[in-house]
Amino acid sequence: MIGVAGLTLADTPVQTIQAAEKDLSGVQPEANTVPLGATQLAPDAEMAKLCLQGDRLGYERLYGAHGARMKSIAWNMLRNHQDAEDAVQETFLKVQRSIHTYNGRSSFSTWVYRVLVNTCTDVQRGRRRQIEELPENITGQETNVPLRIALQRALGRLSEKHRTVFLLAEVEGLAHSEIAAVLDIPLGTSKGWLFEARRELQRLLSEGDGAVLRRIK
């Protein structure tokens, strides 16, 4: 009943209704924007609802659906397994603490990835542990191992913004619209940074004694 303070007539959306009472049939769909896991909107909404309610099940589902990818992003940003796991754990705590700031403008999982990237950036700035090399047999994919190792080292020479965009796009397979939401940048900026990152990586991989890319060409 105390909530009556918020129930004054001044708050009724009459003006908005009047303003909106016109033909909206010409609404055009937005181009080039597909939210993270667009096909997973329902589970995303369900997870968000549970997390909003403080239900641990929501966090458990979040971990089940995105934990592996979160660990991979954290590992590629921090290059240390312990730091990566700590960052994922810290991300869950931050998500719980700040769930009320989730405004629904991006999908819930995109918002969580944003928290994760920010957490990893903070860890990078105050890091203590040693950088680890990627084990050679981790993925089971038939990739060019020397190129992969050289790429991993070259990534360390990129600027933070280029490295992060490259990791999200090329390593984790996020779409530009998702990256734009995670990093809070325009979609065109995401494309531009990825292009610059790839050009710089190609340059780094084509020069010097390694020159693994020159051999491919």
């Binding site: 609802k49 403080g54 971990y63 700031t101 790839r198």
Partner: protein, 215 residues
């Protein structure tokens, strides 16, 4: 879409399927561009190999242990930190209103105030509050009806996100209303409910503004 060597980099920068398809079609008959694309693809392929998964059998247990149990049952909408202030303000307003009404009644008929009439005043205030609340909810429902075609038909991911948020809000509103049914005088729950309605109103307004600006 036709493409020549000078536009290869533009196509790679655009990074959309159509541009890339045009670049590949061109590269099929151009050795320099073919090598460029080959190196480009090699980096992409190698990058996919950097995705790294490993077993962490105890990680979820650590996270679950660190998550406080159900701390934010009533944090929906982010008002918790302000709750005590809202509660205090609202309680003060209510107290002043009831006191004023009581004084007015007393001065009008000083010898006729009985326990029954005080009860009547409280009931009357409650009825007025509920009438205001019902009007407010009706106006939001009206707003929701106007926004419904946009929410149902727009393929925009932004609208999909709004839809998702509204689903969450509706569920939370239903939940709180259910709780209020069992505890009608709980001021804290009422405040939360108002906050959720305001958030829903704001969200619907954003949906309509977005649709309008897309026109």
């Amino acid at each position: 879409m036709n493409l020549d060597c000078s536009l290869l980099m533009d196509a790679l920068r655009d990074d959309d399927p159509e541009s890339l398809a045009a670049a590949r079609a061109h590269a099929a008959s151009c050795e320099a561009c073919r090598l460029e694309l080959q190196a480009w693809d090699a980096v992409s392929l190698a990058a996919r190999g950097l995705h790294h998964e490993w077993e962490s059998p105890s990680l979820w247990d650590r996270i679950a242990e660190a998550l406080p149990a159900r701390p934010s049952r009533l944090q929906i909408g982010g008002r918790t930190r302000l709750d005590w202030r809202l509660f205090a303000s609202a309680a003060a307003v209510l107290l002043l209103t009831v006191a004023s009404l009581w004084l007015v009644r007393r001065s009008a008929a000083p010898h006729q105030i009985t326990a029954a009439s005080r009860q009547f005043l409280t009931e009357q205030a409650l009825r007025e509050v509920h009438a205001s609340e019902a009007a407010y909810v009706r106006s939001i429902d009206q707003l929701a009806k106007i926004a419904e075609p946009v929410l149902d038909q727009s393929p925009s991911p932004l609208i999909a996100n709004y839809r998702e948020k509204l689903t969450v809000l509706d569920a939370a509103i239903a939940d709180l209303k259910d709780n209020l049914e069992h505890n009608r005088l709980n001021a804290h729950l009422s405040t939360e409910l108002v906050s959720l309605y305001q958030e829903k109103q704001k969200t619907l307004q954003e949906v309509l503004q977005n649709a309008e600006s897309s026109n």
